[in-house]
Amino acid sequence: MNKKTLAIFDLTDCEGCEVELFSLRKSADWKIINKYFNIINWRLADEKAENLNFDVALIEGSPASKKEIAFLKKIRAKSKILIAFGACACIGGIPAMIDEHKKEALLAYVYGKNYRSEFISAKPLSHYIAIDYQLSGCPVNPKEVKQILLDIAHDKPLKEKSYSVCFECKARHNDCLFIHGKPCLGPVTKAGCGAICPAKGLRCYGCWGQVADANVLGMIIALKKQGHTKKQIRKIMDIFWKQSDGYEKYLKELIKIKIKLY
């Protein structure tokens, strides 16, 4: 059997998703992954970047410089399947929460006013290149990673999960945090985490990104009914969704339909 080549790269990020990938190593899963894949470039563990073509490339983080964008494009051209690996690559993640118009002021706040940045702000990989699949999460779920790699190994089509965290949460028999007054984003967030946060008592922050056809307006209305102001709703949603479509537009719409609802 010809093994598929799997390349792993990381750009600017916290490297937590790579740590999760590493955590697969002790398990029997790793033996299975190794049976199908030849891992040829893992920067954390291996020094030499080989100049080859890749069947699969996992890219973690977001590019922070023009050089990294060029690198990203090169990897895209060399990869049959390119996977955005983790929230930073998929949706921009925590660093993308920044307000672009405040960036100058925040740079001065952190570094003083004489400091000049040579770096660009975090954006999802899809801002620069076409991606074939999103392995979402902050951090990714090792079980989901394994499943997708095995699907690729067997040439199965890759499908994004079409249901929300709520489904996984119900299946775990968790108490509903939203009903208990927590601004949980489970109803509109893509599944895949196994509802790990609500199971431990933490409301969903939306790190898997919005599920396809998410009823974001409905979510905003529900949060408003829960007693959150528009400003608070924006803060709840922009931790992971700042670069995602939707909620800003709906927050504006909410003004129009305010009278009808309340």
């Binding site: 600017t12 990020d13 916290c14 490297e15 937590g16 998703c17 790579e18 740590v19 999760e20 590493f22 955590s23 190593r25 002790k26 893992w42 920067r43 954390l44 563990a45 291996d46 020094e47 030499k48 922070a64 410089s65 993640g93 925590i94 660093p95 929460m97 920044i98 405040k102 960036k103 002021a105 925040l106 740079l107 706040y109 952190v110 570094y111 003083g112 004489n114 400091y115 000049r116 940045s117 770096f119 660009i120 975090a122 902050c138 951090p139 790990i196 946060c197 431990k200 008592g201 933490l202 922050y205 803060k235 931790i239």
Partner: protein, 420 residues
């Protein structure tokens, strides 16, 4: 070639060595974008800080989470329960074992075998790596059980926990401690057996101080020069400077370079190590010569000693929790908000980690400051690298690069944290 730019592999984050062979000068280039985490947190509610700051680093997220929680609890004058203290201490044990094991076996070890890749070393020494993975897995399970996940904690909250592990899980972790301790002892033996490159730089070591135990959360910092300072004065003692060509900041303590982390801790607190770690460390000192001899390569040995220490500590805490008849979950008390400010410092795997928050009366963050361990040790690292380069002036360029890269890895720097 007069000036060489060399990409440093096998460290957390991205950095490059710039070596001017003609002038024998070295420069460490920090190659990561600013994420402006302190700026991002402004005007956000206080409870987002532990969640967001753990994302500064995927290798030491627990450390950031706990530093953030203790700073907020300090600001809001919240006393945490003895149970919360014990569980957080377990999280620190998990964090240190995770991070040190990952670094020692999967990043640093190949340097000492003069192997150019961890993967080929893993193939030639399968039993060694199988045991290392057992250690890693144990620490992951410990973090999973208490923090809710091995990376980026879920179950922690300002004032306590959102949920706590059941005793069955604690018991199964306790049952593994004996085997883990045996692996950790072998790890120390391995790292005590290496002949470390010669390097001497009489610098200052800083670590947390407490009367009795091996302090990991405290409000007092002690130095190898015999001084102490309270964390409310940390910005007066740890002075950060900005260089216009680097996204990381650089620290000094009273105009001196200094070192934090495993080597500083083991050097300053060797008399407070747990029994087995202490015993083995004493025996090794005869072999290693005067420890630490201000040789930063010894940091890897110190990390191996700490792995055993924290397994012993985890075992002792787990035992207490299992025997505790009052082990029940109590949610944290409701929080009374007011305009306030507070500081927290903890020992992260790579050393002292400071968090500071100022809150307005609604609990929104008005000011924030984070000083990471790597940002504190960078000046010292550059100084060490220059001393090493001067010492090895006769060697080939290739050998110089090898030794310099090895020194940087011995520091276990986290460029990701240093920039944040």
């Amino acid at each position: 070639m007069d000036v060489l730019h060399h990409y440093i592999a096998k460290i957390e984050g991205h950095g490059k060595l710039e070596i001017n062979f003609k002038k024998n000068k070295i420069n460490l280039i920090i190659d990561e974008g600013e994420r402006l985490i302190e700026g991002i947190l402004l005007n956000r509610p206080y409870y987002d800080a532990p969640f967001v700051t753990s994302r500064i680093c995927g290798v030491c997220p627990i450390a950031h989470n706990l530093a953030s929680l203790s700073a907020l609890e300090n600001a809001l004058k919240i006393e945490i329960s003895p149970l919360t203290k014990k569980l957080r201490r377990l999280m620190i044990c998990a964090q240190i074992i995770q991070s040190h094991t990952l670094h020692l076996y999967f990043l640093a070890l190949s340097d000492y075998f003069k192997s150019d890749s961890t993967l080929s070393l893993a193939e030639s020494h399968p039993e060694l790596f199988s045991e290392a993975l057992k250690l890693k897995q144990f620490s992951d399970h410990l973090a999973d059980a208490v923090a809710g996940r091995n990376v980026h904690p879920i179950a922690t909250a300002v004032g306590g926990f959102l949920s706590i592990p059941n005793k069955k899980i604690l018991q199964s972790l306790y049952n593994q401690c004996h085997e883990m301790s045996a692996i950790a002892q072998k790890t120390i033996k391995l790292f005590a057996s290496f002949s470390y490159p010669k390097l001497s730089n009489p610098t200052i070591y800083l670590s947390l101080s407490a009367n009795r135990n091996y302090a990991m959360i405290s409000d007092k910092v002690e130095s190898s020069t015999g001084e102490t300072f309270h964390i409310k004065n940390y910005t007066k003692n740890i002075i950060e400077t900005v260089r216009n060509d680097s996204p990381s900041k650089y620290s000094q303590y009273k105009n001196n370079n200094f070192l934090v982390g495993a080597l500083a801790r083991v050097s300053l607190k060797s008399n407070r190590l747990m029994p087995q770690a202490s015993k083995i460390h004493k025996t090794n000192q005869d072999k290693l010569g005067a420890f630490p001899a201000y040789n930063s390569f010894h940091n890897n040995y110190a990390q191996s000693v700490e792995i055993l220490h924290f397994i012993e500590e985890a075992q002792s805490i787990l035992e207490k929790l299992i025997d505790d008849k009052k082990y029940i979950f109590k949610p944290a008390e409701p929080i009374k908000l007011k305009a306030c400010e507070g500081r927290g410092v903890i020992e992260a795997p790579r050393g002292l980690l400071y968090h500071y928050y100022e809150l307005d009366k609604s609990g929104n963050i008005k000011n924030c400051n984070i000083i990471t361990p790597t940002a504190q040790s960078l000046n010292n690292l550059e100084q060490d690298a220059q001393i090493l380069l001067d010492n090895i002036a006769d060697l080939s360029q290739k050998e110089k690069i090898r030794l310099l890269e090895m020194l940087i890895r011995a520091y276990d720097p986290c460029i990701t944290c240093s920039v944040h």
